[in-house]
């Protein structure tokens, strides 16, 4: 009964909303044009990355915070987990992992570099890094992570800290995250590079601290 | 801040600050606590004396602090306020002495005296509140500060009494709040004024009448008007000093005083009369007077008998207020003071009987007069005063009330007063008869304090009732002298009616 009612409600909602979507006026604000007009000042050639790290870079700053926060919760909850069982070693998977991991590292570096002018960037690069780490673990080549030591903690937090430090440093001169056009490219590259490492560690950690 | 602004605040602070300090004191610092209490009480008396002299000379004492836009926390020490302030301040001193003796070696004294001082603070605030908003603040503070005192003993009966007390008073507070905000929305936020601040055009009459009902019901709970009186006998589980000061004087008088303010200074006596509000109020008062006395007849528990007597007597004040005309006003106001002095005497004595001999019931009173002659003498004076015997304070108030009833053309009220006096006699005389004329039993229920020579009990317990008994006589004998409660009540009535006419 409840299932039926909820399903019916959801269906009605979807139909009504779709009907509302079919006739919409043109947007009053033309943001793509504004993005295009300011691209030159952003220090980045690709519009999505420009929005992500410059025009709306503040969103990204908070987003990295959310990710780090999730990792801290995972650590807090997983800290009492029983001893971890070793993964079953599969020779095929191990061989594959041995070959794939360095390639993935390479791919990550490329993605980071490509982000400046085509789809790519720190998050994608970090995700590939993390995938490599997970692959190695699943193949039994890398152990699951225990309680993180000082170095690992610094690695996890470095990207966020650098981002924060840049934001705070720029605040002394102007607004929050207001990159001077001349420095924008360099600063963003610095942030992206450290973020790649930290995001890779965090994403891998979300998996490896739990397993 | 000028001195005239600071004085009302100082009156409040003289009990608030010692109270807060006492909370912080450890249980064992008896001397420091007593010193703080007495210092506060004496300082308050000195301040009150200054105020009395000033008001008699026509000075204005007022203080204002904006809390919300257009709504002030406002105090004023006018003649009416001082009537109540003086009564409470004087009786606070004696009750403090009494309580120090009564609670010797009892646990949780810091808590007790702390809340006790807060109660007195609340009473001062109620007396000097210059608008309904301020009045409400202190009215609720009184509820909150008395609850820990009612349940002080921590027994299940105490809890029951405390819960009933809260149920009545918080409900009353809610009605009062509704009435006040409603009035505020209709007529704006105004201060108490001689002759009232409401006028016929402010709102439809029916709304004015409903608001009056809400307000009176709100304060009527504390004034223990029938049918809102059920908490008072239950609250008698409190220790004797609490019953004495709070349930004979501060709490019930806060209610009665609220009725005085609402009738005279919110609605104005003439406007209230034109809305046909006074006659129903008088009827309720009359019913309460008779019903309270009637119920008192059947109480064997001494404190409960006194409690029902309080129910009855407080409504004398309400009756006086509801009698249209200055004579009734004077009678009601003077009874506010007289009843306080007489009733506190009775409660002190009841506490002495219980504390010294373990007597809690009327049926155990046989021969108590021989063992404790001075206490019984004080009790007798208080009881005779309640009956309205000549020379006592009670006679003065009853005479003025009866004259007021006649002047207002409410002759039935005189019959109410007579009936009540007869009933008073019927429930007090048997006590006196037992105490003085019946032989003492072989053993007292629980003799806790042994007599030494002429000292029948601890002197801190004995002194306060003797003093208040003497005051009962003095207020009766020197009623027409300057400075007496009666003269002060006449001054207030003159000021209320000077504006009204």
């Amino acid at each position: 009964m409840k299932r039926f009612a909820v399903a019916l409600l959801a269906a009605l909602f979807a139909v009504a909303l779709i009907a509302a979507l079919l006739e919409l006026p043109a947007p009053a604000v033309d943001l793509p044009a504004a993005v295009g007009a300011k691209m030159a000042e952003s220090g980045i050639a690709h519009p999505v990355t420009a929005v992500l790290l410059n025009f709306r870079g503040y969103d990204t700053l908070l987003e990295i915070g959310v990710l780090l926060l999730a990792l801290i919760v995972v650590l807090a909850v997983a800290a009492r987990e029983e001893a971890k069982q070793p993964a079953v070693a599969d020779p095929v998977l191990q061989t594959l992992a041995r070959i794939a991991a360095p390639l993935m590292l390479l791919a990550a570096v490329y993605l980071l570099w490509a982000g400046a002018f085509r789809p790519g960037g720190a998050f994608q690069a970090g995700a590939v890094l993390a995938a490599a780490a997970v692959l190695l673990h699943l193949a039994g080549l890398a152990a699951a992570w225990q309680k993180p030591g000082k170095c690992l903690r610094i690695g996890l937090a470095a990207g966020f800290l650098v981002f924060l430090a840049v934001a705070a440093g720029l605040l002394v001169e102007g607004a929050l995250l207001q990159y001077p056009p001349a420095w924008a490219g360099a600063l963003i590259l610095l942030i992206e590079a450290t973020l790649t490492v930290s995001l890779g560690l965090i994403l891998a950690g979300l998996f490896l601290f739990l397993s | 801040m000028t001195a005239n602004e600071a004085l009302p605040l100082a009156v409040i602070a003289s009990s608030l600050l010692p109270g807060l300090a006492i909370f912080a004191l450890p249980e064992r610092s008896v001397a420091l606590r007593s010193a703080l209490n007495l210092f506060g009480a004496l300082a308050k008396l000195a301040l009150v004396a200054t105020l009395l002299a000033g008001v008699a000379a026509g000075e204005d004492y007022a203080f204002r602090y904006a809390v919300l836009p257009g709504i002030d926390l406002a105090f004023k020490a006018d003649a009416l306020a001082l009537l109540f302030v003086t009564l409470s301040a004087v009786l606070w001193l004696f009750t403090t002495l009494y309580a120090i003796g009564y609670l010797e070696n009892a646990p949780h004294r810091s808590r007790f005296f702390g809340f006790f001082s807060l109660c007195v603070t609340a009473t001062m605030g109620i007396a000097m509140a210059a608008n309904l908003f301020t009045f409400f603040i202190f009215y609720e503070l009184l509820t909150l500060a008395t609850f820990p005192l009612v349940v002080h003993r921590g027994t299940p009966q105490a809890m029951r009494g405390g819960t009933i007390y809260l149920a009545y008073t918080l409900l009353g507070g809610t009605l009062l709040l509704a009435g006040i905000v409603w009035l505020n929305a209709l007529a704006g936020h105004a201060e108490f004024a001689h002759g009232g601040y409401l006028a016929a055009g402010d709102a439809p009459n029916w709304q004015m009448q409903v608001i009056f009902l809400l307000l009176i019901a709100g304060v009527g709970v504390k004034a223990a008007i029938v049918p809102l009186h059920g908490w008072l006998p239950q609250a008698m589980v409190a220790p004797a000093p609490v019953s004495a000061l709070l349930h004979a004087v501060a709490v019930v008088k806060a209610g009665a005083f609220g009725i005085v303010r609402i009738v005279y200074e919110v609605y104005g006596i003439e406007f209230a009369q034109s809305l046909d509000l006074l006659a129903p109020l008088a009827v309720f008062a009359a019913v309460t007077i008779v019903w309270g006395s009637f119920r008192a007849l059947f109480q064997d528990d001494l404190k409960k008998r006194l409690a029902f007597s309080t129910v009855s007597q407080v409504s004398y004040i309400v009756l006086g207020v509801a009698l249209f005309g200055p004579l009734g006003t004077v009678g009601g106001l003077v009874h506010l003071v007289h009843q306080g002095i007489m009733k506190i005497t009775l409660f002190f004595c009841a506490g002495n009987f219980a504390e010294t001999l373990g007597i809690h019931k009327v049926s155990e009173m046989d021969g108590a007069g021989r063992r404790m002659p001075l206490t019984t003498l004080a009790f007798s004076i208080g009881a005779l005063g309640m009956m309205g015997a000549p020379v006592t304070a009670g006679a003065v108030s009853k005479a003025w009330l009866a004259d007021g009833a006649e002047a207002a053309g409410m002759d039935w009220a005189i019959w109410v007063l007579w009936t009540s006096s007869l009933l008073n006699a019927a429930y007090f005389l048997p006590i006196l008869w037992r105490a003085w004329l019946r032989p003492a039993p072989a053993a007292w229920p629980e003799e806790r304090i042994v007599a030494r020579g002429r000292r029948e009990t601890a002197w801190l317990l004995l002194l306060p009732p003797l003093v208040t008994a003497i005051m009962t006589l003095a207020a009766g004998m020197f009623a027409e002298s300057p400075g007496s409660p009666l003269e002060w009540a006449k001054l207030i009535a003159a000021r209320e009616y000077r504006v009204a006419h």
Binding site: K2, R3, V6, A7, L9, A10, A11, F13, A14, L17, I18, L21, L22, L24, A26, P27, L31, P32, V35, P47, V48, T49, A50, V51, L52, F55, R56, D59, T60, E63, I64, V66, L67, L69, A70, L71, V73, V74, V77, A78, E81, E82, F123, L203, L206, L210 | -
Partner: protein, 104 residues
Amino acid sequence: MTSGLIFACAGVVLFAMGTAGVVLLDHLLRRILAFNLMGSGAFLVLIGLAQRDGMPDPVPQAMVLTGIVVAVAATALALALARRLFALTGGYGLPQSEAKDGND
């Protein structure tokens, strides 16, 4: 009807399905998946609706990238909690009613 609008409508349907799933399903893993469906639906609407006239708009794309990371974080958190709960209780669902004792 442009492709953007079709994406948006599909997004609405996914969102409705996801919401119903979160409300109805008991198995924690399924509820977490349903939540992801819900989020993806909203992302589709965001991107699809913005380019309903055929012109790509980088702003919602960047927003969705941010949103995806947030959703990943939330999903990881939910999985960690569910896993831990499974380790403690051995059940895949939430206990029906709260017991009255035994915490803090």
